[in-house]
């Protein structure tokens, strides 16, 4: 691609912008967007979310890091998202390289291009964006004139399929480590040292993983023999943790998009981490330990947010907001303070007890749009296996209070294909849905609607189920068909996820470095936006795997041994292998483990040796 200046790009883009879908995705001039002077700042970072604008702008982490970097006088941070297909086509026709939203400057001109890895199905978009930017995909083909390609987020805990493309990954929470890294880059710009020497310095930052210092050896049967670390770098990379969440940077002047985005509201992050210990849940393992923010801090954030955004809704976010110890006083204070301004409160994640329904009733005084519960499994036995600490009684009580309070739409989330699942567990989903429907009808609610959604279990790294195989596609499809038939009732809606997407997600979730070639080939063949079912090209993925001689079943459907060297063996979430193995055993024995915030330490290993502990404010 020819070198184009920001002004030239802007001029060309303006000509066709009225003709693309939702042009306000590409304006970069939204309220509270940051415009810093390129010449007056020393390190320039482009923060990339490898999906479309309205998805990326809904992500709290992206917003935190964008404003964090810009809060430093010497650093500039601009945003870039995956252009939607029509926009990409127009850009390619005119040889317009991928540019940053705020200044229209090509991302190629930045010092750092940082991707956030939220889900495996966005990997193809990362390569596509690099290609669109005119940046060589592979680390080895890039030179000092190119930006450092870095990545973080949950998928950085198994980033091996991206290893040849990314210079280094940042594991864990990077409010403290990202500025440290940018300072290092600033020094590198002033006094450049050789690439290897610079990367060695990077490895000294908490959570920084430079894949080229780790060599993977394979056995003949395809399993990993060993992961050999360069003697100059740590054997294992430990994630970075923010120790004082209450004092950590939090942006109270977030961008207010012109268009309606997926989560179009103020976000109040009440805590980080969740210690409920659901055994399938990767976030529950990765973000330990639980750290809460104090009500005083949250109320200050709320006040500043309302003033700076003008939003009409405030969402109390975390992995499990119902567990926040000061939830009631915080909700009450916000409602009291802002009801005149018609600012409402929403709680995105609720537990299955009547306490939460009361809370929901309070925050949704007028709108009874729908209440969501996630029992995850249909029988008590299977809920014990996955350590989802709720009972059918909890669910029925909660839905009863919801119906009583005026709700008539209940959504129920389940997973199918969980380890040890039997026919009885499927029947359990059916009977639960029917019981809820009958309850609602009996209680005189008209238009009772119960929406049942099932997703297919995808084993994720760093969880007690990481050794588990994913169930075969044919069998999962049969289960979906069975549920579809059994849930035929005009009051019940049944939604389910595409099995093929979940299969490929499992391949990459458990994948190793050899998948990098597959990824590159699939992207060359046009794969992108794989998370959008209408753009997912399953056949192309299969062909790519086949051509490179890799068997997707090997990754997705193989039970791994505790002794196997896992592709992420050298990356540590802080939760010990011993704990994960123990939890896996308990799962198979159908024994639950209690939440450590209520009883004794469960020995997951996150707090020991880190000078950190769970931090509750209530």
């Amino acid at each position: 691609m020819s070198a184009k200046t920001a002004a030239e790009i802007r001029k060309q883009v303006e000509r066709f912008l009225p003709k693309v879908l939702k042009p306000s995705r590409y304006l970069g001039s939204e309220w509270n967007s940051e415009r810093k002077d390129w010449e007056l700042t020393r390190v320039h970072m482009a923060f990339a979310f490898p999906d479309v604008y309205e998805v990326g702008m809904s992500h709290l982490g992206t917003r935190i890091l964008y404003h964090l970097v810009n809060s430093y006088e010497n650093f500039l941070c601009e945003r870039v998202f995956a252009p939607w297909l029509d926009m990409e086509e127009k850009m390619r026709e005119r040889e317009i390289p991928l540019y940053a939203l705020e200044s229209y400057r090509p991302v190629k001109d930045f010092d750092v291009l940082g991707f956030t890895l939220q889900y495996e199905m966005s990997f193809s978009n990362i390569l596509n964006m690099l290609e669109l930017a005119g940046i060589p995909l592979r680390t080895k083909d890039r030179g000092p004139q190119h930006p450092w390609i870095i990545a973080g987020g949950p998928c950085a805990y198994n980033p091996e399929p991206l290893a040849p493309f990314v210079d280094f990954f940042m594991l864990g929470e990077s409010e403290e480590t990202l500025p440290e890294l940018l300072k290092l880059i600033e020094k590198q710009k002033e006094n450049p040292v050789a690439r290897e020497e610079f990367l060695l310095k990077v490895t000294q930052i908490e959570g920084a993983y430079v894949p080229e210092f780790y060599e993977v050896h394979y056995q003949e049967d395809g399993r990993i023999k060993k992961i050999e670390a360069d003697p100059r770098v740590p054997q294992t990379i430990e994630k970075a943790i923010v120790r004082d969440l209450d004092g950590a940077f939090y942006p109270t002047n977030p961008i207010v998009p012109y268009m309606e985005i997926v989560h179009d509201r103020m976000m109040l992050e009440v805590m980080r981490g969740c210690s409920r210990g659901c055994r399938f849940c990767q976030a529950g393992m990765l973000y330990r330990p639980v750290r809460e923010r104090s009500p005083e801090t949250l109320l200050r954030h709320a006040e500043e947010l309302v003033k700076s955004t003008g939003y009409e809704e405030i969402s109390l976010t975390s992995l499990s907001t119902g567990d926040y110890t000061c939830i009631q006083p915080v909700v009450r204070s916000i409602l009291d303070k802002y009801s005149e301004d018609k600012v409402s409160v929403s709680l995105p994640s609720l537990r299955l007890d009547s306490f939460d329904v009361k809370l929901a009733e309070e925050v949704q005084k007028v709108r009874k749009s729908g209440l969501t519960f996630a029992p995850e499994a249909g029988t008590q036995r299977l809920r014990d296996v996955i350590n989802k600490g709720v009972t059918e009684e909890n669910l029925l009580q909660a839905t009863e209070s919801a119906f009583k309070a005026g709700w008539s739409t209940i959504k129920l989330y389940f997973m199918i294909g969980l380890p040890t699942e039997t026919q009885e567990d499927l029947n359990g989903i059916v009977s639960m849905a029917k019981k809820v429907v009958e309850l609602g009808t009996r209680m005189g609610r008209r238009n009772v609607t119960v929406t049942v959604s099932t997703s297919s279990f995808v084993p994720k790294s760093h969880t007690p189920f990481q050794w588990e195989p994913q169930e075969g596609m044919a069998s999962l499809e049969q289960k979906q068909k069975y549920l579809r038939e059994k849930l035929r009732d005009r009051r019940i809606k049944y939604n389910y996820h595409d099995v093929k997407t979940s299969y490929l997600e499992a391949v990459f979730a458990k994948g190793d470095r050899r998948l990098a070639d597959v990824l590159e080939r699939a992207v060359k063949e046009g794969c992108k936006f794989d998370g959008w079912s209408e753009h997912f090209k399953y056949e192309t993925w299969l062909q790519s795997l086949e051509e490179l001689g890799l068997d997707p079943h090997f990754y997705a459907n193989r039970a791994m041994d505790y002794d196997d060297v896992l592709p992420w063996n050298h990356l540590a979430s802080g939760v010990s292998k011993r704990y994960l193995v123990g939890e896996h055993h308990q799962a198979l024995k159908e024994i639950t483990t209690k939440d450590c915030r209520y009883i004794d330490c469960t020995g997951c290993g996150i707090c020991t040796d880190r000078g950190i502990q769970i931090d509750l404010k209530g």
Binding site: P18, S24, S29, M259, V306, K307, Y311, E312, D341, V366
Partner: protein
């Protein structure tokens, strides 16, 4: 409770032209909240702020003088409202003037019935001034102008001529500049780019329609052959 109703004339220029009509209501609502001005809300289960616009502008079309009615639950000096709100609006939306209107004044949507546009189109091939005037005259002389539009229901043909009140044009450098005035009503209207596309097609004018740029120069209350601004007393009274 609504205490005060103000009518404001504003521009929607530059990047603001990309804000879709539905999003514009949210942009105003949030700006007003940031400005610390208390809006009045509708009654009912799902209260909405009482903000009402004139007629919608298509995405990508600039507006030199658009109108919005806002109802407040507090009495406030008009100058202060405008000053505080202006600070919170995205660039491109400039408040031109405002006035207090009586409660019960007809909604903008109900009174605005004419709009004027300036359309600039690059010349594909050289066109003389004379040739352009001939084309416009011939086009206007047509009793009916069928135009096929793609809608949700598929391709629909309709006669666009009845909507046209006035069309003039001139050559300016390597562009043709048109001034168009159309009727706006409950039964819909005609889009400026349709008029120019039809003109080029039927009168064989070689204009580069890909580079067409539209600006709405005003919307009016047309009454007994006279044009009023909705800010004028005469129009409000009607």
């Amino acid at each position: 409770m609504s205490v005060l109703r103000v009518r404001i004339a504003y521009t929607k220029l530059e990047e603001a032209k990309y804000i879709a009509h539905l999003d514009l209501a949210r942009v105003f609502e949030r700006s007003i909240r940031r400005a610390g001005i208390r809006m009045a809300y509708s009654e009912g289960f799902n209260p909405h702020p009482k903000i009402a616009f004139g007629s919608a502008l298509a995405v990508g079309v600039e507006g030199e003088r658009e109108y919005v009615d806002i109802e407040l639950q507090q009495d406030m000096d008009l100058k202060e409202i405008i000053g505080r709100l202006q600070e919170q609006l995205p660039s491109g939306i400039r408040l031109i003037e405002g006035r207090v209107v009586a409660q019960g004044t007809k909604a903008l949507m109900a009174v605005l019935n004419a709009a004027s546009y300036r359309i600039t189109v690059p010349l594909g091939l050289p066109v003389s001034e004379e040739r352009l005037q001939e084309g416009i005259t011939a086009w206007l002389r047509r009793g009916q102008v069928p135009y096929t539009r793609y809608s949700k229901k598929g391709w629909v043909e309709k006669d666009i001529r009845p909507w046209i009140k006035e069309l003039t044009g001139r050559i300016q450098g390597d562009e043709a500049v048109f001034e168009l005035e159309v009727e706006v009503g409950n039964q819909g209207s005609v889009r400026p780019e349709e008029v120019i596309a039809s003109l080029c097609d039927l009168e064989n004018l070689p204009l580069d329609l890909d580079g067409l740029n539209t600006k709405r120069t005003g919307i009016y209350v047309s009454y007994e052959g006279q044009k009023f601004s909705p800010m004028e007393h005469e129009a409000i009274g009607k």
